[in-house]
């Protein structure tokens, strides 16, 4: 049987908008993926636990609050500790270029900045997953 790509879409941090995350989640679903959507105000612990329980291939984090340099590295660290460091982690939000390079080093493979189309996100995930298979 064909293996479905499973993605966790989560929104860490305190701000209360998840419109962007929902749009991305729907686009991934429409591209044939199984998307576990966990909603707002997720702590790093909640995100990592959900990623493990759901055995997702991809963790997608949407962030606007500016706390990305704390939250992303924390999530990466927890994932590694739990033996789940092999998951593809991507992010989206208003993030300065310098920070993106830092995050890339920390293992966040790709950061989508505003203006990225959902098609680009879908293509990126599909290509990455195909190369890992």
């Amino acid at each position: 049987m064909e293996r479905k790509i499973r993605v966790l879409v989560a929104k860490p941090g305190l701000d209360g908008h998840d419109r962007g995350a929902k749009v991305v989640a729907s686009a991934l679903r429409d591209a044939g993926m199984e998307v576990v959507y966990t909603g707002l105000h997720q702590t790093p612990e909640m995100i990592v636990e959900a990623a493990i329980q759901e055995d997702v291939d991809v963790v997608g984090l949407s962030i606007l609050s500016g706390a990305h340099m704390v939250l992303f590295p924390k999530i990466m660290k927890l994932l590694k500790e739990q033996g789940a460091g092999d998951k593809l982690v991507v992010g989206g939000g208003i993030i300065p270029e310098d920070d993106i390079q830092e995050l890339n080093k920390a293992g966040v493979t790709k950061v989508f900045t505003p203006g990225t189309t959902t098609t680009e996100i879908v293509e990126y995930i599909k290509t990455e997953m195909a190369s890992r298979a």
């Binding site: 479905k4 998307v35 576990v36 612990e45 909640m46």
Partner: protein, 321 residues
Amino acid sequence: MAIPREELLKRFAGGQRAALSKIITLVENHATSFPDVLDELYPRTGKAYRIGVTGPPGAGKSTLVSSLVQTIRTKEKTVGVIAVDPSSPFTGGALLGDRIRMQDIGTDPGVFVRSMATRGSLGGLAEAAGDVADVMDAFGKDVVITETVGVGQCELDIAEACYTTVVVIVPESGDAVQAMKAGLMEIADILVINKSDREGAEQIARQTRAMFELRDERNGWDPPVILTVAFKGDGIPELYEHIEKHRQFLAESGLLERHRQSNVEATIKAIVEGDLHSKTWNEATLGRLESLVGDVMVGKVTPRQASGVILKMIEGRQEGG
């Protein structure tokens, strides 16, 4: 980065959640890399109590499950949750949103929640959900709760395969009638009127109680009707008490054993039928099918005669070895 099977089984036996998760994936995908994983685990199943929660979309099932899990956790029992949502028949994708309402149990180490898409598996869904429940059972979960949307026959089958089936409806006018039409009332061991903070809850409770009285008893069990407000936890301890009562009733009456037997029977049948189906169509039979379609179109044979030809081919294959 596949983990070798012995190592995976060792980690599973050692209680590692990541191993449980990987094994669920293998089972869900019918992975050819480890086809007999369920046979390995089967001897360790049979201990978990299985609860099915079903009802219309938006009735508050996930919220209720989260609250129920918290009550069960106060009894020192561990819990597995399977949340089933439909896959899109067009794209095969799915949006699985049950965890949104299960935040309170998301990081409890005694709870494991897994979202599952229906994947349009024709009738195979009940089997697949049962397989995942078996894996959680073998892992040592004391209780396994399966949430399904009470719309299709498959979803109802899943709920019914559980020992105690909880049907959740809301006070909105017509919901009870809808539930009856959908065949939900028939499978309810316990009926929950959730969102009873809204108007009309008492009234619908009276109506449904009257309905249950009119109908024949279900093997000596009278389904209770319980009012809840899931996001406040109101009525949840009472729900748990009734689940316990039902469990005792099933155990004492010997019905639990019978339930298990019929589940085993259904599982064997599903596997046999699934295998037969996949063995039926291969290059030879599909090629023959194509020419037979042509024969039927020009009036040489009837569809029934044509199928006889294919069945003979399959039988011949089995005899020939």
